[in-house]
Subunit: 376 residues, 2 copies
């Protein structure tokens, strides 16, 4: 569909990507509104941190909760008549989901029940295109251990017991947060097949970047750098700015996909313009580059001269693995010349430098150990 | 471990299997207590039905909710010091989970969050053996379509992209209830590996039977025959007793595993006696016979002379498929001479006949359509 005819409802518009997407789309689409329960702010506050950049309050956000207020959200959908719903309304932190029983349960409750509510609402509105944020982390373990290509599909062909068969892409992962994303993916694909819904599941790599093109200085999206909600890129940037060593978890060989926030926005714009057919849950692997943690540390070191040190890995994860993701669909949509991390880190450093005095050094070191046993 | 040294906590002791297991184990183990939130009674009442047999109220059940009261249950565990926890505390009906948004959300909330709470509690008590009821329905679709053997394992070996690899057993299923069971299985296996827990996941076929050996006439376990909570066996028995045709959904070729309630009890007793090692989530396919719906209808017809008719299938399910389950582990525990359905239906008919006047014919016909579209 043409972007200027799109009517976009963003669930989770107060978050890192939600706010950026609002800024990206506001002049491109027919109408855009957002809903948020502000749980991200509460979660980050609960672990003693805050967004480094002050959050712009001039926002078209309606304060509702997809878990607690599904009826109200259903009413809003009937009034607003979106063509597209962007579903960012999830608790996004793996360490937070591993902290204790309460945060773990909050994570799966918020994510799985929120998405299930939304699917039931869409049963009555199957023409609305659902764009849902997934994660590349849904493929972990069996892929990492086996040196095979990461598929970009809900089905793969294998040989089993001497027969060629098509199976659901096997999933396995490494935190209760990541499991919640897998459960969402299953519920969503099932609902698409059952009720004829049309959905795009964006299996996203780690997004980095402090701003998108066209964003004013007082409009920056949230920036988390604590050990729960900060990505490795954000933590390294902040550590470099405050002249502390970059802390690499374990060997630093953990390798993942990354994408700049501008490219994420372009990819979501393309997804809106190219909805899948009804009864289809389309998988997009949304990344543009692949780095190990060590490679990112070295890039930050080259720009800042900071030091790097290894600390015990608080997570249970495979540190020695291959990583061969397929990501062809973004390229077909024209993301053939994506931003490169090495070119974008300088802007991030500049933006963070301006807020240097607000940095709380106490929240950077990991607080949650996945397990005391390390039997995984 | 020796059964007489077992201290057993049953979660969901008010249910069909929970009560039967209490009766089965009460004279065999050192101590046994149960917890239930009585949601099964409420759910069945909410759809206008009730257990056909009056429920024995002389029960050692403590009324707590695994979703709402995890702290209290944790305290009880610390006081009671169970060696084994049997986890039956789940909403067990697929049609109920497909009825509307609220029942669907209730199902996944109750099942997934309840189990996740329990896993976090067991993190502090990893020596307790968790026995959890799963379902053979977790394997559906990719198995049914492909004519392969249903594994009895969390991992299978396949060839993918020319490489021999071990993958998590792929899962796919056909109701939001069944998805909740898959999500439970994943959370449970992950917790076992991460925290060194010891669990048995009983992927159970359909259980049938109205009583176990040693149960007094006033102690019968609950018997549901409505379209939501009644199994196909129970519905056929009741239809035969009230001289109505047995209603087969669709072609009646849907083929599943079955097990008599006495054998289920024996299997759970064996699971208690033979706990898996730490950090192991053991899969047991708990069934003893395989029947199509038509075969069950014919058995009931032979005993009663009733008629059989086909009605539109309210579910979205594959009606033409193979079914080759592996179930070797039960045999190793000595269930080599299981009860046969053809021998057990007469007792069920007798028990139901005694309560014929309480049968509500209005609740037998299916009320919930999986979809109006049937695009699956």
């Amino acid at each position: 569909m043409e972007l200027q005819k799109a009517r976009v409802l963003i669930l989770g518009m107060d978050g890192y990507l939600g706010w950026a997407l609002y800024c990206y789309l506001r002049d491109k689409v027919e109408e855009i509104i957002g809903i948020d329960n502000y749980s991200r702010r509460q979660f980050v506050e609960s672990i003693g941190s805050d967004s480094l950049f002050p959050l712009c309050e001039d926002r078209r956000i309606h304060s509702f909760d997809l878990v607690k207020h599904p009826d109200i959200i259903e009413d809003r959908i009937e009034v607003f008549k979106p063509t597209t719903i962007i579903h960012f309304a999830e608790q996004p932190s793996a360490p937070f989901s591993m902290m204790d029983r309460e945060t773990s349960v909050n994570t799966q409750h918020n994510n799985v029940i929120g998405t299930l509510n939304l699917l039931w609402i869409l049963r009555e509105h199957p023409h609305i295109h659902l764009v849902k944020l997934g994660t590349m982390g849904e493929y972990s373990d069996w892929i990492y251990k086996n040196n095979v290509e990461i598929p970009e599909s809900n089905r793969i062909e294998v040989q089993y017991q001497g027969t060629d068969i098509i199976i659901p892409t096997p999933r396995w992962t490494g935190s209760f947060y990541h499991w919640s994303k897998i459960f969402d993916s299953f519920n969503m694909e099932y609902a698409c097949r059952l009720w004829g819904l049309s959905a795009t599941d964006l299996n996203q790599g780690v997004v980095y970047g402090t701003r998108i093109l066209g964003m004013a200085d007082n409009e920056l999206t949230r920036f988390d750098y604590d050990s729960y909600f900060g990505t490795v890129v954000n933590r390294f940037i902040v550590q470099a700015i405050v002249n502390e060593p970059l802390t690499v978890y374990g060997s630093g060989n953990q390798t993942r996909g990354y994408i700049n926030i501008n490219d994420t926005m372009r990819a979501i714009g393309s997804a809106i313009q190219n909805p899948p057919p009804r009864a289809c849950c389309r998988i997009i692997n949304q990344l543009t580059e692949v780095f190990s943690v060590n490679e990112i540390a070295l890039m930050v070191q080259q720009l800042t001269g900071c030091t790097i040190e290894s600390i015990d890995n608080p997570r249970c994860e495979n540190e020695k693995h291959t990583y061969n993701p397929t990501f062809e669909k973004l390229k077909k949509w024209g993301l053939s010349d994506p931003y490169k991390m090495k070119d974008m880190l300088a802007t991030m450093l500049e933006d963070v430098e301006k807020h240097k005095r607000q940095i709380n050094r106490d929240v950077i070191a990991p607080q949650t150990q996945w397990t005391e046993r390390n039997e995984n």
